[in-house]
Amino acid sequence: MLIVDQARMWLRALLKRGRVESEMEKEMRLHLELEAQHRIEHGMSPREARRTAMVAFGGVERAKESVRDERLTRWLEELTSDFELALRGFRRQPAYTIGIITLIALGIGPNAAIFSVVNHTLLSPIPFRDGNRMVTLSATAGGGRILSARTKADVDLWRARARTVESITLVDPRQYTLGDTAHGPTERVRGVAFGPGATTFTGLHPLIGRDIAPSDTLASAQPVVLLSYALWQRLFGGQADAIGKSVVLNQLSYTVIGVMPERFAGPFWAGSSQLFTALRGVRPDHAADAIAKLRPGASVADANRELAAMFPKRDASKSEDVPFVERAIDRVGASSKRTIYLIFGAVSLVLLIACANVANLMVARAWTRQREFTIRSAMGARRGRLMRHVLVESVTLSLCGGTLGIAFAFGTLALLNRVPELAWQIGGARMEPIVLVWVFSLATATGVLFGIAPALFVSATRQTDALKAGSSSVAGHPSSRRLRAGLVIGEIALSVVLLVSSGLLIRTISAMQRADMGFQPAGLYGVEVLLRDTSFSDSTARHAALQLVLDRVRAVPGVRAATYSIGVPPDGVIGVGQLEIEGASVLEADSLATSNLSVAWPNVFAVLGVHILRGRAFNAYSDQSEIVVNDGFARRFFPGGKAVGGRIRRSGGPWATIVGIANDIEVPGAPNRINATHFYLALGAAPKSPTLLFRSDLPLARVAPVVTEAIRTANPRIKFGRTSAADDLVAGARGLQRFTLRMIGAFAVLALILVAFGLHATIAYTVSQRTRELGIRMVLGAQSHNVMELVLGQAIKLTAAGLIVGVYGGFLAGRSLRALLFHVAPLDPLSICAVGIILVAVSLIASYAPAQRAANVDPAETLRAE
């Protein structure tokens, strides 16, 4: 018979159960009648015939049961009755039921929230058409250590010749200052500049307004901008008349031409961008990133072979730029990937702890229900049926918990989305349908997982034992006790992992705060000064204007010193390559070294708080023939210690002499620098957008308006950016650690609450089981405090065991956190001690009430009650 026919029969038996049953009834009745009639024909009396026919048939009900067994629908019918039985049980014990559902929801809710972040940032990071085929073009230089952008000329060549890729588009991620500094506050936003075709690349079109047209990319074109959905909502309240209005970006007026749909603002390959501008008037040597799509059937390897053929190495001995493509998916969130996995790991530990709690409660309950099960099995219930009953109960509970967990997940996600620093990492993570699938698979899996322990326990107990035990109050079955102790120890160990991880991060952050950074960030502020006006086209004019501003700012009350540089440390360094060191023919594999560069006004070191270790700083007569290098530079390129007086130049440029060595600036957690080498170039021609650095004891909010007012009065044509504090930038460098600590710390607290709950439940249960024993002890002379010590001692023993197991887990967790740690070893005694103290305190608090209850046991009462 075909499977289909079998399935049809099975479905008929299931769905038309009444009809199938009545047919069976009819068939058997007919059988009996025919048999009786047959017997009458052979000379029996009608009554005798009916009786013997029944006997010969051998039990109608039994026959029916056997037929039902053959139908194979029995398990489903029993499942329904198990379910009804379970619901009835829950109604009888509402506190237990609500407790378990809440526990599961606490485990699953945050897990679902973090899973939606994982899904959003890692699993489906490019929710666009052909997202999987999207590749980005990069190049390596300096021996493969540096990722660099390609020039437009290269990209044009690639576009003209490429066979393996299509839709090659230039994209240039940029930072914009949004708003006019002269009128009100401004903010930094991420944006991307691209040419026409970048939006169609994603298969998404502007929600309102128009797309970027080829004419917008001409050098002479009016600047235009497409807004992200979120920015449109924020700036224009989602009004359609935003089109045609203007916004000020980097002190230039841009016309809003359209709004992109919400999805477009998601994690684009350049991070979550707020606005999209036209890439205007790009010169062939302009460096920008490029994105493309692999043609169907082409692989990344194919595209790279093609690139290698297109841009052959001119000289095999030198490590030139090697262009290559990689899947955009691999680049998305590469830096935060690890952190997000760590956090997902942390939240999964919370789920495990919640599960251990639930299993613990269920085993305890299974024990108290021993008699019920024994009676049912004595009445003929099969062992498998009882096990299934327990499983149905736990799965039902966990599905309810999962449903409540979704509510928790919505809450958690809303909270996460409200933390501004997290917006970039998780920007716009939502509860997608896949998250719901995740929640319910998780709920079912946990239901089965923690249902198995009590189920096995129920089935393993012998009936006679249970009946005997049921009437007395011995302290539970030894195997049950061991199982429950194991669960509590396990959950304590898991919480140790989370607590130790939090401890390591707290220690890291405080070490970062205490670290000697090589400069004084406290009270150091910077503001970008923009000389865009045509009257500043001449360097001398700029120099004069900048000097005037400097004099005015120095005169501002509260400002102690001021100077110019590029950017505020740790920001504002420029990577340069192709350095030549005089006299050093071969430095590494090639003679082209790379370093960071910053341009400095003479007194920059004094204002920054950087010390000159050897030689001298710049003076008023310094020009670009003088440079100051940092210690790292000196040690790397002048290992003989003769840096001062040495000469370097950028490939083909004029030689510059090293006049001094400054100490290294090292901000822990700051983005990976190319290497630790750095040099300062004395100011040459006056720059068009230097950063005015000044020192003040006043807070940013008080000093910034006064200083910008001084700039404005010095020369109204000077525009300026936002004033930032070095302290904030330094703190920002610890952002990843702070983000991770915030998440793991929150989960550690949740874990601690769950552990306290689990310990309390276990101790309280043991006390209630041991009432009689405690009564006897007291009759024999034990004092209340002895009993209390006994109970608290049990809690401490469990905690100590959990700690010992957990410390190893904490060490493993510390190792996976290593990339985030600073001046803290993965096995940090201080963190472990602190965690131990916290856990012992929590366990004492959690078991105090049951211990008190045990101490107040009235021996006469308990013994009489038995």
């Binding site: 018979m1 075909l2 026919d5 079998q6 029969m9 047919e23 069976m24 009819k26 068939e27 058997m28 007919l30 059988h31 025919l34 048999e35 047959h38 010969a56 048939f57 051998g58 039990g59 039994r62 026959a63 056997s66 037929v67 067994d69 053959e70 139908r71 194979l72």
Partner: protein
């Protein structure tokens, strides 16, 4: 009645298939037919007949339909399918081999 109702399950299926190979029958008819064919030696316990019929139907060896008997009663008639015929041939051969084998053992013992 020398017969026992404890016919082995596989044997029961074979007997039912054989009984149905001649003509479609209802449940009681099947047990009557087996009774007759065995010259009153075998009496099928109804407690095992109906589960066997359901099992055979599920396997696709028999098909059932409601028809009226010669006495104008509604009865469920079972009919052998093509697959049922094949199964009967196979199982009959198996049975022969089994009986011969058992015989050999018994002869050797005596």
């Amino acid at each position: 009645m020398a017969a026992s109702a404890d016919v082995m399950q596989g044997t029961l299926d074979l007997l039912v298939l054989k009984a149905l190979s001649l003509a479609p029958l209802h449940g009681w008819g099947i047990s009557q037919r087996i009774h007759q064919l065995s010259r009153d030696a075998l009496q099928i316990g109804q407690g095992s007949l109906y589960p066997a019929l359901y099992r055979l139907e599920r396997k696709g060896f028999v098909k059932s339909e409601w028809k009226t008997t010669e006495n104008n009663r509604e009865a469920k008639y079972y009919k052998l399918t093509a697959a049922g015929h094949r199964a009967l041939t196979e199982e009959r051969a198996d049975w022969r081999r089994f009986v011969e084998a058992v015989d050999l053992v018994l002869v050797a013992e005596s």
